[in-house]
Amino acid sequence: MFLSEFTNYIPVILNGLPNTIILAFGGFGIGLVFGTLLAFLEVYAPKPIASAASLIEEVIRGTPLLVIMFIVFFGLPELGMSLDPVHAAIVSIGIRSLAYQSQIIRGAISSIPAGQLEAALSIGMTRGQAFLYVVVPQAFRIAIPGLVNQFTIDLKDTSIAYAIGVAEIFTQAIHVAQVILDYLTPLVFIGLIYLVMTLTVSYISEYLYRRYAIPGLGGGG
């Protein structure tokens, strides 16, 4: 039946898996680094910089990922910057991710009592040290559920890179479907792959949350 024909193409689909993973981790990673930076600026920087950071966050959050991808892939060449599809996709996912992660981290930071920062400064730490050694460790534990959720979103949205021709599993599945003239089987197949990935992520996140939980420190989730 259809199934035996499809099994020949499974390797083709799986060839897309490395890119899916690279896009997800790369994009989320960029989002983590720059999102934390943005959050720091929005909370601790002087008013004009904080407002600018806030504006950047809001603008990015209000833009669909597909639009960001097209701006990066089709628009940037007009300014002289040309990226290949994979890098463009990673950057796009990263840009979107950093805006959402910034919001999540900001929320976590603001749920930490002001007294913590005061105490840190009182023992002579600079703002940067206080942030790094006192605020960040606590904020991250609180932010874990939100950040993991964002990673799941980034992972699923790697499929949008189909629009710029990245060979991740969704693109591969569609190509196979067009060849064997059966969309159902390839789509269900990658659906299962996505499910396995997202469920694994949520199990790991529960493990992380429990492992790094501090008694008395609440958090969302």
């Binding site: 603008v59 209000g62 833009t63 669909p64 097209f70 628009g75 189909y162 969309y183 789509l187 469920l199």
Partner: protein
């Protein structure tokens, strides 16, 4: 020609195409939100008040949707349904897929709002002789819906942005319109900047409107979680 000049030129020459895209974007957003709301509410009620087998089926549905990309769900609706004889217009397939997706997410928000309604309200409703259905519709839901407004607003804005996925189904929404204009002018940066601004304006309008609605239906003493996450 400078960037701004090109932008103005594109808008001037192609406004009908932008409007066509805008129209379809709004149609997709509205229809999928409504569909998601109706089915989401039913799923939420089913998961809170229904028998165990029903709860399991509904929970599986929600997990399935949340664990897979929306793009995949749209493709399944549009390309796989023909296998069983259902052939759909791209726009219909798009909002159907988005609606089924939204139903899963809205059901989660509504479910937590329903569970947050104090148990005493439910007991009092039963005590004056209401049936379970009357208690759900007259007492629990009016309270739960009010406290869901912030989360539902978020969902509406999400749908606005994710309507862009209908691009893949060749629906002429904003992004597809941009592609068409781009094919003629190659002014990609200008076009997608304009489109980004349109999306931003729309989300601002939506959030502002929902805040107003929230103010109008708010009841003194009803604590709603206005913190957005």
């Amino acid at each position: 020609m400078s960037f701004m000049e090109r932008v103005i030129e594109v808008v001037y020459n192609y406004s009908p195409m932008f409007l066509e895209g805008l129209k379809n974007t709004l149609v997709l957003t509205a229809t999928s939100f409504i569909m998601g709301f109706v089915f989401g509410a039913l799923i939420a009620v089913g998961r809170v008040y229904g028998p165990r087998p029903l709860r399991l089926i509904l929970a599986s549905y929600v997990e399935l949707i949340r664990g897979t990309p929306m793009l995949l769900q749209l493709f399944l609706v549009y390309y796989a349904l023909p296998r069983i004889g259902i052939i759909l217009d791209p726009l219909i397939a798009a909002f159907l897929g988005m609606g089924l997706n939204s139903a899963a997410y809205q059901s989660e928000y509504l479910r937590s709002s329903i569970k947050a309604v104090p148990r005493g309200q439910w007991e009092a409703a039963l005590s004056i002789g209401m049936t379970r259905w009357q208690a759900i519709t007259s007492i629990v839901m009016p309270i739960a819906l009010r406290s869901s407004i912030p989360a539902l607003t978020n969902e509406l804005v999400y749908l606005l942005k994710y309507s862009s996925i209908a691009y893949f189904l060749t629906v002429v929404e904003l992004v597809y319109a941009g592609k068409i204009i781009g094919a003629e002018t190659f002014a990609y940066l200008e076009i997608y900047t304009i489109i980004a601004i349109i999306y931003l304006t729309l989300s601002l309008i939506i959030t502002r409107t929902m805040k107003n609605i929230e103010k109008r239906v708010m009841i003194p003493g009803l604590i709603t979680p206005s913190a957005r996450m």
